[in-house]
Point group: C2
Chain length 256, copies 2
């Protein structure tokens, strides 16, 4: 059940981001064969650092914007598969926090994650002869209970928590397992300063940071522990330096 | 606390839809002053029927597509406010169920609801001198626990459940209260036949309808009861002919 990352091939969307970069560092320590980082903006210094950390690991970077249509993502993945042959893990980590930008928040945090995953299914779906794989979605504790001053961001995170739970239940059909990693407030540039919806609370970032938080390093260590636990359907809470399983409440059951 | 709908002005987005039309019929029985129906497609027969039902009520129809930009919605609302002067209740009911259409599902079920509500805040927000108002969002029990064969639809509904709970918590700032009405499987054309994500379950509609369901009439009656209860922050489950409050689980607290 648990996963040894040694020699594995990992695609990490937003692997240079706030939580992403420290998680990439932790992943490189585990000696995967390939760490393929897709991110909107390059950070050559960070990529060079990751390459230098562990000579056993091939670290590559491709520019990728999660808001492109599925067919574009499929093209990029074809290029990547041609080089690495197989991919074991896809980590979806792209996200923005700015409730002035409703469409963009939804496009990146929700649609982008769904589309990237949908594109990956072309290669992984066992109904198409694929080998299956593991999807790790970086969602957020705000998907459980909102930061109500950023209702659009929080709602987009509720969406991806739900989507990930559904994917896990589809694993018997697709061969693709999934779990979500839900960080609490983590000291990144994302939460340093951000806009609330209709400016309902101009001080939302400051107020949040008056409460206990965690560092990106703490979050990254628990992130990789969650990947190694490799638990289909898990909803992991990564808050205040802890790693906990969330038991989702059943309010309704489709029966099917 | 509870609301008497007599003489009230109501805007109902998708008031001619599957659940919408029967809910419009129930609303008209309560003798509001105005029932303003916004819907993508006109249904002159249904509108005529609503008009004939109760001569005390002015029923009007405007074409409206929830995927238009906020500024377009603001324009339409200006026209409506010019006629009715005040609006007491906004009901957001636009939705599609088709997991082949990822972008469109998200645009209608999630972004459309957020944008329509955001446009309404221009007129209602007490920080702008507005009188406040009540937002009623038609979400879905699949926002609590997915129909995992339609993960995109279900996720879009999880998003609007979350958004609605946030709006309710912002009522002390905006003057606008909100609650969600979450139907279970209701016998509408929406659930008669629909596409699952990547065709994971071609028989999803049939399978669902093998289990107990409710009629649109049952749903509509409980819908109007929920509006009359007028409970800010409520998460109403309308399933199997029943009306129940859902207690949302606290997995995390922002502390602010």
């Amino acid at each position: 059940h648990s996963m040894d990352l040694t020699n594995k091939n990992i695609i990490f969307v937003a692997g240079l981001g706030g939580i992403g970069l420290d998680t990439s560092r932790e992943l490189v320590k585990r000696s995967p064969k390939n760490l393929v980082i897709l991110d909107r903006v390059d950070n050559p210094v960070a990529v060079a650092e990751l390459k230098a950390m562990n000579p056993k690991v091939t670290v590559t970077y491709y520019p990728y914007d999660v808001t492109v249509p599925v067919v574009e993502t499929v093209k990029l993945l074809k290029t990547i598969f041609a080089k690495v042959k197989t991919v074991d893990v896809l980590i979806n980590g792209a996200g923005i926090l700015d409730d002035h930008q409703i469409e963009r928040t939804i496009a990146i945090n929700f649609t982008g994650l769904v589309n990237t995953t949908t594109a990956m299914m072309e290669f992984w779906d066992k109904r198409k002869g694929g080998p299956g794989g593991v999807v790790v979605n970086i969602c957020s504790v705000t998907g459980f209970n909102a930061i109500y001053q950023v209702p659009v961001y929080s709602a987009s995170k509720a969406a991806v928590v739900s989507f990930t739970m559904s994917m896990a239940k589809l694993a018997h059909i697709t061969g693709v397992t999934a779990f979500s990693v839900n960080p609490g407030i983590t000291k990144t540039t994302l939460v340093h300063k951000f806009n609330s919806w209709l400016d309902v609370e101009p001080r939302v970032a400051e107020l949040l940071l008056e409460h206990p938080t965690q560092t990106t390093q703490q979050c990254a260590q628990n992130f990789v522990k969650a990947i190694e636990a490799n638990k289909n359907g898990a909803v992991w809470k990564l808050d205040l330096g802890r790693l906990d399983l969330v038991e989702w409440t059943k309010h309704w059951d489709s029966g099917i």
